[in-house]
């Protein structure tokens, strides 16, 4: 399965969430690979704490170079072996967790047919090795995003399932932007239709993830003054209504990641010991990552009612 992670705006929490989901999914026993397609700002190395690729790979062997035909195979990094926090060894029962980093100083580029083909071949190859391929796209409509959508729309018969996770924060502007990215005139759905995919199949393959959510009844907000709480609840209700009208409601939502103090201060993987031993992160955050990780492959969350 190929999971494409996108968002209309930058700074939504897409990279941090996707990376954590990849980590959780590997811990659940699946072989997972993570592709950093955010060529403008490759961050996966930093989030995973792989020192050597913290701003992308330097040797010209990243995904960027591969697509340009400058290297025959993109570099792969075994996260279990190279992450700073890891014991250099895959945890018992876990699957593989492999990062395909971007190039340092990669940047945007126009797409040509050869690149699409290379990209297609890359996915076909990875699909044989990994059960979950997570792709962190850049924010908004970019060349990289179009490239991936086109390459994955045409993986041949018996092709891998392709699913989209659209990340947005819980604000008015983010909801409107995410709606536009998916359902807008030049949005993902229409793009897919132009690439020959059924509109309904397209819609079934897209789900939204709310990030850094603070529910009005969350513990963190209990110190608000009554008037603030009253205002906040009204705002929340208006957003719920807006989301329902813009088709980002509960039925299209596959995850909601609570605001977490650790992630607010630093982009990183949250491990169980951060919750259990040092208790710096919230258990709800980890639960939300795990939940999203397992729903990726649960068919009923990806079917229209």
């Amino acid at each position: 399965m190929i999971v494409l992670a996108t968002s209309d705006k930058g700074g939504t929490g897409r990279s941090v969430t996707t990376t954590n989901v990849a980590y959780r999914r590997a811990l659940q026993g699946d072989d997972v690979c993570f592709l950093d397609f955010d060529f403008g700002s490759p961050t996966a190395g930093a989030i995973l704490d792989v020192e050597s690729v913290s701003r992308g790979i330097k040797m010209g062997t990243g995904l960027h170079s591969y697509l340009h035909g400058e290297t025959a195979e993109p570099a792969r990094i075994d996260v279990w072996r190279h992450a700073g926090w890891s014991g250099r060894r895959r945890p018992l029962g876990a699957g593989r967790l492999v990062l395909l980093p971007g190039d340092e100083g990669g940047g945007e580029f126009p797409v040509d047919a050869a690149m699409i083909e290379r990209c297609r071949q890359l996915f076909l190859g990875l699909a044989e090795e990994f059960s979950i391929i997570l792709v962190d796209l850049s924010a908004g409509r970019s060349y990289a995003a179009e490239l991936v959508q086109e390459a994955t729309s045409n993986l041949g018969s018996g092709g891998e399932a392709v699913r989209w996770l659209v990340f947005h924060r819980w604000t008015r502007q983010h909801i409107l932007a995410a709606h536009g990215l998916v359902f807008g005139e030049r949005g993902i759905v229409n793009n897919g239709v132009q690439l020959g995919i059924d509109r309904e199949v397209m819609e079934d393959s897209i789900r939204f993830v709310r990030t850094a959510v603070q529910e009005p009844d969350s513990a963190q907000l209990s110190l608000l003054r009554p008037a603030q709480a009253s205002w906040l609840q009204r705002c929340h209700e208006e957003l719920l209504e807006l989301a329902a009208r813009r088709r980002l409601g509960r039925s299209m939502m596959i995850g909601a990641i609570p605001l977490d103090p650790v992630l607010q201060w630093r982009e990183q993987i949250i491990r169980d010991l951060d919750v259990r031993s040092t208790q710096i992160a919230n258990p709800e955050t980890v639960a939300a990552f795990e939940d999203l990780a397992s729903k990726l492959t649960q068919q009923n969350y990806w079917a229209a009612v």
């Binding site: 989301a243 409601g249 229209a304």
Partner: protein
């Protein structure tokens, strides 16, 4: 009001859904064996609030389902799954209560009892259509039609699901038509001579001022004249109209317990065979009349109209039922209103024109309550005077006391019989056949609460409203005590042993009959809270006076050049201006709130003034 309907409803939903949905499937059942009335009641515990006029408990648009609502219904699954769970449950209901030809049936089933202890009812006996079931079905079918009409609009598109929804909509519509036809054929007119037992009972009811029998008869005829004149319009499906030709005879009208013997077939989109011959005696019964009225009220609700739930045939049936509804209301209100010094209704308990052998006289209080219910519904058609409402409020309070709902009951007190075993209505058949079946009515407490809530909606003075809300709270206190605490039905109803000690233990299974009525009360409480607060002229006038004083003082501050006094002063006066505007907006609809804001404003303006002592006058310069 101390009743908190949202919280109470969600607690009830949690218990009801956990009981009803087990092993991934809806389970019908409870204290009584499944039957067409009980199963409709069980479904309505969810469907009724979910489709009520106020939208707090909506379920058909999963994107809009409240968080606490979703939590309460966890037993049914996630919000997205709930409409489908209900779809399957209501579809099962529709299938189960159709005969071999697929025609809807309204059998009394396990709710029927034998009049004679020890007599075992045959399956044949239990296959008899009952008005209560028809009325519940009208409510359930309307709820279903509206629910799934809205559900469709959420953009569902799975082909099988769409087919299932369509199937249910058709089944619900057919059942609705059948229930309406059944009700039309259960409406009846009963005529009798003034010298018969029934005549004597009626005359005794209206005899409140000591008139001679002739005078009384003349007055009674006069006040019923217009109803008598209008009744012949209600021909479709109605029995007993020919009796009205004898001008000397008295009459009563309303619903019998089922389709009346000899009731003609009604024109509708139903196969002829669906209109089976009736068995019920051609005599209205107050309980079934009120039960029919509750169903018919839903047919003419704002929601039914707005969502356009009725086909044209159903609209025509509905108009015909409406006519009978009005006639029955007018009739019983006219009788209830009889009397100058004291109305017949206030002469508690009401004497029915027909009383079965073994009936306990204490259950006559049911009739008082039912007539009061009819009078209240009749008042909803016009703007009643406050004193009219007050006198009915007093009657409800009196009934609550007599039924030991708002007074402690001593052991073995006869009043307890009103609740347990309740009123037993023998289901008399035509031609004086021996009566074998009876219908048990045990809803005194909830009926009382529901009627109280309906009356609150009419009250315009704060005093009366408060008085009624206090009564409602007291009745709720009683009802709440009857919630089942342990066993499978925990959190549901009915366990009367706490208010009425000494009653036998009736297992912990829920009574959907009672629980559904509790739900209706909570929905009624929601509508009470949803209306705007009552106000009175005095309150508004006091608020206006304060507003003009505050506004005046504020302008005087400005005139004095207060804005030259620096930032602190400017900020203060800006805020004062905002508060005055808020108060102005609240004066008419929330005079109490306006006064509270203005008190604060006046105090702030005063402290500005107080800080400027008249230095010169005090001679300290």
């Amino acid at each position: 009001m101390r009743i908190q309907p949202r919280q109470l409803m969600l607690e009830l939903w949690q218990a009801a859904s956990a009981y009803s949905h087990q092993k991934g499937e809806w389970q019908f059942g409870g204290r009584a064996q499944p039957n067409s009335t009980a199963d409709a009641e069980q479904l309505l515990c969810l469907m009724y609030p979910a489709t009520a006029e106020a939208s707090y408990f909506r379920l058909e648009q999963p994107d809009r389902t409240g968080k606490d609502v979703a939590q309460a219904l966890q037993a049914l699954g996630e919000p997205i799954e709930i409409p489908q769970v209900l779809l399957r449950a209501v579809s099962t209901f529709m299938r189960r209560y159709s005969d071999e030809d697929g025609l809807p049936v309204f059998h009394g089933g396990a709710y029927l009892q034998a009049t004679q202890a020890g007599h075992i009812l045959s399956p044949e006996d239990r296959r008899i259509d009952i008005v209560d079931s028809m009325s519940m079905s009208i409510t359930l079918c309307l709820a279903t039609l509206g629910f799934f009409k809205e559900y469709r609009r959420t953009g569902i598109r799975r082909a099988q699901l769409l087919r299932d929804v369509e199937w249910l909509e058709n089944a619900a519509s057919t059942r609705l038509t059948a229930a309406m036809v059944g009700l039309l054929r259960s409406f009846t007119v009963h005529t009798f001579s003034p010298t018969s037992t029934a005549g004597a009972a009626l005359l005794r009811t209206v005899d409140q001022d000591g008139y001679s029998e002739e005078q009384l008869l003349a007055r009674l005829r006069a006040s019923l004249n217009s109803i008598r004149a209008d009744l012949p319009e209600a021909t479709d499906g109605t029995t007993g109209l020919d009796g009205l030709e004898n001008e000397n005879h008295l009459f009563e009208c309303g619903w019998s317990w089922g389709v009346v013997h000899g009731a003609p077939a009604v024109e509708a989109d139903l196969p002829e065979s669906a209109q089976k011959p009736g068995r019920a005696v051609a005599r209205p019964n107050l309980y079934f009349t009120l039960s029919a009225l509750d169903g018919i009220a839903d047919l003419s609700s704002e929601r039914t109209r707005r969502l356009n739930l009725l086909t044209s045939t159903q609209q025509s049936l509905s108009r015909r039922l409406q006519l009978r509804w009005e006639l029955a209301q007018r009739y019983w209100s006219a009788i209830a209103d009889f009397g100058d010094r004291r109305t017949a209704l206030a002469d508690i308990p009401w004497q029915p024109t027909d009383r079965a052998g073994g009936e306990s006289p204490v259950t006559d209080h049911y009739y008082s309550l039912q007539v009061a219910g009819m009078v209240i519904e009749n008042l909803h058609q016009r703007r009643p005077a406050e004193n009219e409402l007050a006198s009915i409020a007093q009657i409800l309070a009196e009934l609550a006391i007599r039924a030991r709902v708002t007074r402690r009951a001593s052991q073995q007190e006869t009043a307890v019989e009103m609740h347990v075993p309740g009123l037993e209505i023998p289901l008399a058949e035509a031609d004086g056949k021996p009566v074998v079946l009876a219908w048990r009515v045990t809803d005194f407490a909830t009926a009382l609460l529901k009627r109280t809530m309906r009356l609150v909606l009419l009250a315009r003075s704060a005093e009366l409203r408060q008085q009624l809300l206090d009564l409602a709270d007291e009745i709720w206190g009683h009802v709440e005590q009857r919630m089942i605490l342990d066993g499978p039905g925990a959190g549901l109803w009915d366990d009367p042993r706490r208010p009425f000690p000494g009653l036998p233990d009736e297992a912990g299974e829920p009574s959907w009959y009672f629980t559904e009525r509790v739900v209706e009360c909570l929905v009624a409480a929601v509508s009470v809270i949803d209306m705007s607060p009552v106000t009175n002229v005095a309150g508004i006038s006091a608020a206006r006076t304060m507003l003009s004083e505050a506004d005046h003082l504020y302008h005087r501050e400005l005139l004095n050049g207060a804005l030259n006094a620096g930032g602190a002063m400017r900020a203060e006066l800006e805020d004062v201006a905002i508060q005055i505007d808020r108060a102005r907006a609240a004066v008419e609809r929330r005079p109490g709130t306006a006064q509270a804001i203005l008190l604060e404003v006046l105090r702030r303006l005063n402290s500005l003034e107080a800080a400027r002592p008249s230095i010169v006058l005090e001679g300290r310069l």
